[in-house]
Chain length 338, copies 2
């Protein structure tokens, strides 16, 4: 049966979003005559006087960055969300809009302008995770902030406008679309089975083994069965926790370790500073009970076949459904072997 | 009330997908130091001996293109969907996959290698619409084909690997995600009100006027209230029809006219051969009753502020929800005035 998934076009169900992806395993030999990307090099200098994220430099609004030694957090000078937005409700016939209040923050991972996550020391990665926890705690406790999205856009191809290693947090009043989907599917499973959906999924994946990239005592890194992006991956805690505040000391280290392992494998795959968007999905922070939520971190990398050929999510994908060529099993095998 | 939508961050509801988009009107002045695109030029020659879509040329599989005079349709040599795929059902614990059978076709719009839609004669555009109708009829009648997606990826930035003006059709057995969403919302409205959701929406938009780009006797072109892409637009027939086969002769001409008008405005906006993905959303072809469906054509263009600065749908957008800076009203005003 499983062999049919290796040869025939098929669709796969995403248990977390309730949506499907079209998989075309026969299509990997398609020649590519379209647009190619320039390759993704690491920065050469540890300090860039022109960089608005390097320590002691002045940002566009005149503020001066601290002479920070590990992580550094500040409010985005051009945030898409603002703290003083009124929560108005606009309803006019079929039209419906709502004021959206929130805050956008930038987190520099390191004072070193060229040090990306795969090259950071484990202890410094633990500091990054601690910073995420600290920010999450503060934002989750803010009234009228009901969801906190931690993410990173890495590489110019992912819309990142500054190569200095940094991530972002956008925290907001409403529950975003993706989180709503994942809450519904996890809740449905939890109510029926009394266990976390992802815990059950992990058990099945560990038994099967074909999509596991790496693992340690607390975390499993895998290519999900329903992956959309060619080398999409997911870091999942073995133990159910609704958000990253649940991490024990050892688990935090184990998480940092998987972060480093996965991104090192990414860099090695096409011998490039591998671009991606990564994000942590956690339970909403609206004070309600979310016993079903099992937090996880996902990586959506755009590269398809080399450092210069990316997957375009365009026409069919925008209008119909996601589509991929190489199978998740093949991607996992490649990443595992590195 | 409406003035709040001009100044404050807010989210808007998409009545067709049931999802929201975050709008940040204050953010248009954000400086851009990230990746820029090369500009989008039209091709200079009417015939390119290296092009696999030009008349009389040989494709990679050895087939020779007809010496066609207006449109030319063939099966994609590297289709993501294949006609002889078995419709297997794979279920293993939480994993679920299904064989997906279908066909991918390429439609050359014109023998002229450099003639894009905005520059085509109206009569030739009518021929393109007739070709879509012919293909749709044939595919809709094929057993086991339950949905037909007509689309175009225009420009290298949209993953288009050949500048020769062409679109595609991917027809398949399952109902894709986007269509399922739009079926559910339209059906809910139809069952409650007994009218088409889009007809009611059009009435409201025509009365308001602020998002209308252009119109004629049979069609309205507008920036939807919930637009995601900076210059997203939608061509909607005034009269409800579940698919393009319902078009009367005059309506077909009026449709071609709106197609030309919108794409001409696009090219004029940044003085460039404006890239986009466009697609026609229609009722499924599984033989069931879809009285609620009101077909429409949407355009998702990636450019944000100039021919070289695009909107990146990355981190936050992938993990949380869609986000835009300029308001749909501003975009409509700009496009209307051209
Ligand atoms: O079929 P093409 O033009 O070779 O390929 C293009 O359109 C397809 C359908 O939207 C996408 O899956 C591809 O990623 C894109 O490069
Ligand atoms: O906030 P930045 O890094 O300037 O901008 C980048 O990330 C944002 C959040 O994913 C996106 O909305 C922007 O399109 C992208 O360019």
């Amino acid at each position: 049966m499983q062999s049919q998934l290796k040869t025939h076009p098929h669709r796969r169900y995403n248990i977390l979003t309730g949506e499907w992806v079209l998989v075309s395993p026969h299509r990997t030999k398609r020649p590519w005559q379209g647009k190619t990307e320039s390759s993704h090099k690491k920065e050469a200098v540890t300090y860039d006087p022109e960089c608005y994220l390097c320590p002691t430099n002045t940002r566009i609004n005149g503020e001066i960055n601290e002479d920070y030694k590990n992580t550094f957090v500040f409010k985005n000078d051009f945030g898409a969300l603002l703290e003083d937005t009124p929560l108005f409700d606009y309803k006019e016939g079929l039209l419906h809009a709502e004021g959206e209040k929130g805050v956008c923050k930038v987190i520099c991972f390191s004072p070193n302008h060229s040090l990306t996550i795969p090259d950071m020391e484990l202890t410094d990665l633990v500091t990054v995770v601690k910073t995420w926890q600290k920010e999450f705690t503060e934002l989750a406790n803010a009234s009228e902030i009901n969801y906190v999205q931690i993410f990173e856009n890495k590489g110019a191809i992912m819309g990142c406008s500054n190569p200095h290693p940094h991530g972002q947090i956008w925290a907001q009043h409403s529950i975003p679309t993706e989180i709503e989907k994942k809450t519904n599917t996890q809740k449905a499973h939890y109510q029926k089975e009394g266990t976390s959906l992802l815990q059950k999924y992990l058990e099945q994946e560990l038994e099967d083994g074909s999509r596991i990239i790496s693992q340690n005592d607390s975390f499993v890194t895998l290519v999900p069965f329903w992956a959309i992006w060619p080398y999409e991956a997911m870091i999942v805690p073995r133990r159910q926790m609704s958000n990253i505040l649940g991490l024990r000391v050892q688990e935090r280290e184990d998480f940092a370790h998987q972060l480093k392992t996965l991104t090192q494998k990414y860099d090695a795959l096409f011998d490039t500073s591998f671009p991606y968007s990564s994000g942590i999905h956690q339970a909403p922070t609206d004070g309600k009970e979310y016993s079903e939520w099992h937090w996880h971190m996902s990586f959506y990398p755009p590269l398809l076949r080399s450092a210069t050929i990316k997957k375009f999510m365009v026409g069919y994908e925008m209008f119909a459904m996601a589509q991929r060529d190489i199978t998740p099993e093949l991607a996992a095998e490649q990443l595992k072997s590195l």
